[in-house]
């Protein structure tokens, strides 16, 4: 596949933006102003960037509990995203959702969810809706290696296959579910192997390489739009931090961590190198892009911090369309 230079630049930009967003979250967390827990997307940016760059605005994504990166890459308003993480009234969910439910419907995010693997059935329904309404929109569903052990996985893959839904399944295989290494819970060497049982074509790609992810997604999206049904793409990647807020991830073998967390494997470095090599951007462009994004992110941080908390009574709003 020859990839347009604009696309390469976009891939770099989205990867970096997602990274900078998460670094900001990490800083705010350090300031102790992020309530609750956090599942950072740091390290996995290549996946969200690669996937979402292959989508059009009206396509949908279904996120997981590790959702910041997905919404940012899909084009979220970062002010509203960061404000949500801080529990502010200006947050996209008015402070009701927080990290695990960070969602921006208007940019095509169906929802982030705290229940592992619960997004898969929802993605099935959304894709069915796209099909029945005769749109040419597709749905992409992100979930983790751990999620593929939950019952909804088989049910949802199957339903997507029998109805030939316009759906792309993205497994973000970061080799751990909390502290549990995938080797303990998955007998095969890839998650992708499970797709065959449902006659769903699959592919394994380097999730830290946004270009590889992009190319695989383009192909899958094309198939989906043309009525060819679902595809599963396993993106192998790694968490830069632990699972959640307070996890130092000491259970990971040093060698493994060193490999994945090396500069060479870093998602931002990987796509920056490719983009420069292929003449899509210069070192200087990269710097400029970084500066611009950093400013945006910083501004979002300020916005979030300055925003007010919701009034206590707002607890009672939004349970139903109309209160009764």
């Amino acid at each position: 596949m020859t990839v347009d230079k604009k696309i390469l630049k976009e891939l770099f930009t989205r990867t970096l933006k997602t990274r900078l967003f998460e670094e900001k979250v990490w800083d705010l967390f350090g300031e102790n102003i992020v309530p609750g827990t956090l599942h950072l997307y740091l390290g996995q940016e290549g996946v969200a960037a690669g996937v979402t760059t292959a989508l059009k605005d009206s396509d949908w994504i279904q996120s997981s509990h590790r959702g910041h990166g997905h919404v940012v890459a899909k084009g979220a308003d970062m002010n509203a995203a960061l404000a949500e993480l801080l529990g502010k009234k200006t947050g996209s969910c008015k402070g009701k959702g927080g990290s695990m439910h960070i969602t921006q419907f208007d940019v095509g995010v169906l929802g982030a969810t705290g229940v592992v693997a619960s997004g898969l059935p929802i993605a099935v329904g959304a894709a069915l809706s796209c099909q029945m309404r005769k749109t040419d929109d597709v749905v992409v569903c992100f979930f983790g290696d751990g999620a593929s052990n939950n019952g909804t996985f088989g049910e949802s893959l199957n339903m997507s296959a029998i109805w030939k839904l316009p759906l792309v399944w993205i497994v973000e295989n970061n080799f751990y579910a909390m502290g549990t290494p995938i080797k303990l819970t998955c007998p095969s060497s890839t998650v992708a192997q499970r797709a065959e049982g449902y006659c769903i074509p699959s592919q394994v790609v380097d999730g830290n390489n946004a270009l590889e992810v992009y190319e695989a997604t383009v192909e899958a999206v094309k198939r989906a739009r043309e009525g060819g049904g679902p595809t599963l793409i396993e993106c192998q990647t790694y968490r830069m931090k632990g699972h959640s807020r307070f996890d130092p991830a000491k259970y990971r073998p040093q060698e493994e961590a060193d490999h994945w967390l090396s500069g060479e494997k870093d998602a931002v470095n990987v796509i920056q190198k490719i983009a420069i090599e292929q003449g899509a951007i210069t070192e200087k462009d990269a710097e400029k892009i970084r500066e611009k994004l950093q400013k945006e992110v910083d501004k979002a941080g300020e916005f979030a911090k300055k925003s007010d908390f919701p009034e206590p009574e707002e607890t009672l709003d939004d349970v139903y369309a109309e209160a009764f």
């Binding site: 969910c93 169906l110 969810t113 099935v124 329904g125 049910e155 939004d318």
Partner: protein
Amino acid sequence: MTEMVYREALKAGIREEMLRDERVFLLGEDIGLNWGGAFKVTKGLAEEFGVERVRDTPISENTIAGAAVGAAITGMRPVAEIMFGDLITLAMDQVCNQAAKMRYMFGGQTSVPLVLRTVFGGGKNIASHHSQSLESWFMHTPGLKVAVPAFASDVKGLIKTAIRDPDPVLFAEHKLVYDKKEEVPDDEYLIPFGEAKVRREGADVTIWGTFIMLHKALEVAEELQKEGISVEVIDPRTLVPLDKKTLIESVKKTGRLVLVTEETKTGATTAEIAAIVQEEAFDWLDAPIKRVNAPDTPVPFSPPLENYFIPDNKRIAQAVRDIV
């Protein structure tokens, strides 16, 4: 007005909505061509509307419910069926964590206009896994609405309201009311949620109940009339929203209340009603509120056991006599 059974009135309501709004579609196990639903509610609809809109699914309850969620939030109006209420146990995450909470946890960004139809109750000798009455679980799930139609004339108006409602509705039916006949209006009509119906007026004691127990209560009222006891019978029609007003007014009039449902006693909907009434009409109560429920056991198979399990006219009458 046409006399028809509950099953037909229900189907007629669904059919009218499908004709009115092409976004309305049905999904569930064996609801289509070959079967028409385990209780034949949807019989003929696949023939009329096609298998896309009356969609047979695999045996995947959680994904059926979740697919309804995904379709609902992207512009469709799904009516999903769970063949037996006992099997919602497999779909509780999608029903109670996703459908019910989405509007709220996303801060009002989306509506979830879906209907989940299912059927509760015993009386068919089909034992512990096909006879339960689990409506109190859903009454305890903020974000859900819960309809409990017991009469043919109500079910049509209620299903139509349910389908048009912007919020997720658990639409509970009962195996033994499907064959109950009543005059049903021919013209289009909708029954608003949250309005109880006084099925019989009386002065001495109020009976509040659901489903087949209402039919029994009306028989009992008739009997007791001969003994000079005047019984008022109230059908809530929806549990969420709950019409407290009609009930409280009745209790203020009669001073006595008997609650009758087929649920196992501890933690049944009758507990909530008792708690509300003693809270809000304490000074008007002339006797303790009586609860008539099934005993705290699973539902047994053998006819003499199931007959013992399900409250009968005698037990209802006795409860009334105990407090008048």
